[in-house]
């Protein structure tokens, strides 16, 4: 029973994956292939007169821009929803989460502001707006998504470390009788070292997460290393189980 409860906690902490399926941050119906194709067809249509072509091109450009802004706003809204649903125990990280939500709200305002300008655009204006939005998305918004991903990655790691600690304690207790076996003791020590390493890296990642000004730290690499240490600890568990069965 306890194994089941711990597993439930583990998978819950791993991101509530299935529930998240319904709250994807990238809207699924936001593909622009057909409209881009229509734009290209108008641009290459030799039968259209110059003014007809401009009129048709402008119309399709505005449609695409509106669709882009609608999809981008939805993307931001779902990103916010995902963050709001993420429960965080750490007080400082929770504060960071609230800051990110504020920034996402500002992103939605940005899109709304751009949307209100579309009606007055000409062809050059539409190209200019597309460039502005693209630059903004590649700069500010990409960073916002990256920081959100960092926070989610760190938060997922907490649940996994918590369960790994319980597993280590359980394995130790199970093997109290066989602990005099030298090889088992060695692997158990290795498991403890791996857990300590995972926790140390996790702490480093937390500091990096809270200090977002420090761009020199490869945050995701630290999280990845922490997870790899946890993975090695599970390999130790399997080895211990095997050794215990052989004795």
């Amino acid at each position: 029973m306890s194994a089941l409860a711990i597993s439930a906690l583990f998978f819950l902490s791993a991101g509530v994956t299935l529930a998240a399926e319904n709250k994807k941050t990238e809207p699924t119906e936001c593909n622009f292939g057909d409209k881009i194709q229509s734009l290209e067809l108008i641009q290459n249509n030799a039968k259209l007169g110059e003014s007809e072509k401009i009129k048709a091109e402008l119309q399709i450009r505005k449609q695409i821009l509106r669709q882009i802004i609608s999809c981008s706003s939805e993307e931001a809204r779902l990103l916010k929803l995902k963050l709001t649903d993420t429960s965080i125990v750490d007080r400082l990280v929770e504060k960071l989460k609230l800051n990110l939500i504020t920034e996402i709200n500002q992103a939605v305002d940005y899109y709304q502001n751009k949307n209100s300008q579309i009606d007055n655009l000409g062809i050059w204006g539409s190209k200019n707006m597309a460039q502005q939005i693209l630059d903004w998305r590649r700069g500010n918004y990409a960073q916002l998504i990256e920081r959100t991903a960092n926070l989610v990655a760190w938060n997922n790691n907490q649940g996994m470390i918590g369960v790994a600690e319980i597993r280590l304690a359980e394995t130790k207790k199970d093997l109290e009788v066989e602990i005099d076996n030298q090889k088992i003791q060695e692997v158990m020590d290795e498991a403890e070292t791996n857990l300590t390493k995972a926790k140390t890296l996790n702490q480093r990642a937390r500091e990096a997460l809270l200090n977002s000004n420090n761009n020199s730290i490869n945050y995701l690499e630290i999280i990845k290393q922490s997870l790899e240490s946890l993975g090695k600890m599970y390999d130790n568990f399997f080895e211990i189980k095997e050794l215990a069965t052989d004795t």
Partner: protein, 157 residues
């Protein structure tokens, strides 16, 4: 002693009680059950107790003693393996997040892998108008995958 007194004495003569009882039962057609001794009373109790004890020992052996080699052990291993696999998936997602942080947020590995294949095709086909008129299913599939940023790039042209 006179004859009368001798006859009175004869009236007092009785048969053996056990013989009387068995004879009576034989006449009445009943099965004769011998009288129970203390061994007869104790032995069934001992036999039942031994059986119950043996059953209890077997149950304990099945659920506790043999647990190391039983399916209960397998469940533990399965749980551990599932947790180890979840860590592996998280490592992969973290690796993907360098380029695709949204995938980590969404926690969808399969989608990430399928998209990484289609987007590379999209980039080639959409940016190359010479290939555009291909009216086959493959082109349709590729065109459907134009993302927000790719659409913006097309609008800048």
């Amino acid at each position: 002693m006179d004859l009368l007194q001798i006859l009175k004495q004869l009236k007092k003569i009785e048969p053996d009680q056990n013989y009387s009882r068995t004879s009576k039962m034989a006449i009445l057609g009943h099965q004769i059950t011998p009288k129970k001794t203390w061994q007869d009373l104790v032995w069934p109790t001992v036999r039942f107790g031994a059986g119950a004890a043996l059953t209890t020992i077997l149950i304990i052996l099945i659920f506790v003693g043999f647990s190391k080699f039983s399916p209960m052990e397998d469940i533990d291993m399965l749980t551990l393996r599932a947790e180890a696999e979840a860590i592996d998936i998280q490592i992969q997602l973290t690796g993907l997040a360098y380029d695709r942080p949204l995938e980590l947020i969404n926690q969808t590995t399969t989608r990430a892998l399928s998209e990484s294949k289609t987007t590379s095709k999209t980039k080639t086909d959409v940016s190359n108008p010479d290939n555009k008129p291909k009216e086959d299913a493959k082109t349709e599939e590729v065109l459907e995958q134009v993302s927000i940023n790719q659409a913006l790039q097309e609008l800048i042209k």
